[in-house]
Amino acid sequence: MKHATSALQIAITITAVFLALLTLLESWFFINVNPLGMYFIVLFVLIIIFLFTVLFLFKIKKLEATEANFIDTLKKFESNYLTLQVEKNKILSIITSFSDGILILKNNGTIDIINSQAERILGVLAKEVLHKPLLDLEVHFPRINTVGSLLLSDVKYSFTKELKIEKDLIIQIHVNPLFVKREYMGKLIIFHDITKEKVVAEMKTDFISSVVHQLNGPLSAMKLSLEMLLHGDFGKMRKEQKEVIEKLNQKNKVLVTLVGDLLSMARIEERYSYHYTPVDLEGVIHSVVALNKDEIEIKKITYKFEKSKAKFPKIMLDKEKINLVIQNLFENAIKYTHVRGKITISLKEINGNAELAIKDSGIGIPESQQKKLFTKFFRGTNATKLHVVSSGLGLFIAKNIVEAHKGKIWCKSKEGKGSIFFISIPMRRVDSVRS
């Protein structure tokens, strides 16, 4: 409004000056008696006044409109600012009361926000560390020293890592880089205390291991004695006795397999029992095959390993568990392939995933039963007729492990022709994560 008022004042002033000059000129013409001249001058003046008036009115309107828009915009900004303040306070409340530790690092490595849980985990007080560079704090605070290199790594994607900060403190650290319109702004770090879960998981595993080992002792002795009975080490048996002992031996083998698989299941179902290290997948395949070479030779199976000439890169996996997956799949391939059959393992990289395929020329799986393949205790009807020892847990265990690695497992099979089991796991390479 102020601008519009100023414009009006200027217009009035100019008009007043103009009219004063005009009056002087009119007076001169009146004195010198020139009516025509006077007429034209008056007409000219009226036109000028009219044009100026229109122009000024237009300008004033425009200024008023601009002023109104400006005021509207200011009001909107104010409203947005208030909304942002409310949202910021909400977020700060959430961060403060979150059960996990939250730390926000700016792109210059200084601590922007830290909540009370993060203070507890890092053994610091907010006032000691806020707005200070993390690098400088490493010297003074031992726990920050432990996690510092991880938090300051120049990796620009999200990752999770488990770290034992102290004897009684194990945390899972999630690091999430923050970007605004592709510009790196800093990092959001979440500290999740998993000490209790780890302790409970270890206790559970220890308990189950202990039970399994207690069971394995008598089962092994039973296995050995039954085998020796069947081999005639305790003298010749009657036909009926031998048949019973053979059945007992089979049942015992099932029990041994089941106990072993129960231990595996207990381990794979623990969220925190996965330990990722750089793993040479080719090496794992070779060692599984070597472990089963006796069986391959006995059944005269033709085995082939297909892969590219270049060495397959190491990828981050839980070696023991992946070994178990490949072992289960390879063992199944051997069990359900006839004498002189074929097994082929192939390994390749497809769209950033390591894809492993184990193909056999065995009995295959009936199509109607393929949907239940990866469920607990599943065994195909044609498989049970073979009297092969199996707990029915191997594929369930394999699926759990592969999915824990964010991968997929699937099967293509035709009854009587054979099966191909595929596993696909994202390739998190060693060189893409700075340790």
Binding site: K223, E227, M228, E320
Partner: protein
């Protein structure tokens, strides 16, 4: 020449079965029921081969292996681990400590175990 095999196994029944089987294959058998006795017999008697369980009283099989392989006078004696422990980390640990082979009891039958023993005994040891 009759070969001497030392069985280090705390399960009496299992040890008895192994002894019976190996005697039938004309081996001479020595026995130890715990880790300490196992180490003592290995150093005294220098058997041609040791069948070693891992879960043993006193010191475990890994410690036995460590001591035996750490002693020049016994380091060349082949040791086959015969255990219920079947986890990959245990197998790797046993082989790394110098075991010539690692057999999980539930995965091998007695004849396979005997074949492994014969194969190792037939190998020349430098």
């Amino acid at each position: 020449m009759v070969k001497n095999i030392l069985i280090v196994e705390d399960d009496d029944f299992f040890r008895e079965l192994l002894r019976k089987k190996l005697l039938s294959k004309e081996f001479n058998i020595l026995e130890a029921v715990d880790g300490e006795k196992g180490v003592m017999l290995i150093k005294e008697k220098k058997p041609d081969l040791v069948l070693l369980d891992l879960l043993l009283p006193n010191i475990d099989g890994f410690e036995v292996l460590l001591r035996v392989k750490g002693d020049l006078s016994t380091s060349k004696i082949p040791v086959i681990i015969l255990s219920n422990l079947g986890q990959q980390e245990d197998i790797e640990r046993g082989l790394k400590l110098g075991a010539s082979d690692y057999l999980v009891k539930s995965q091998f039958d007695i004849n396979q175990i005997v074949e492994k023993i014969k194969t190792l005994l037939d190998k020349p040891h430098a």
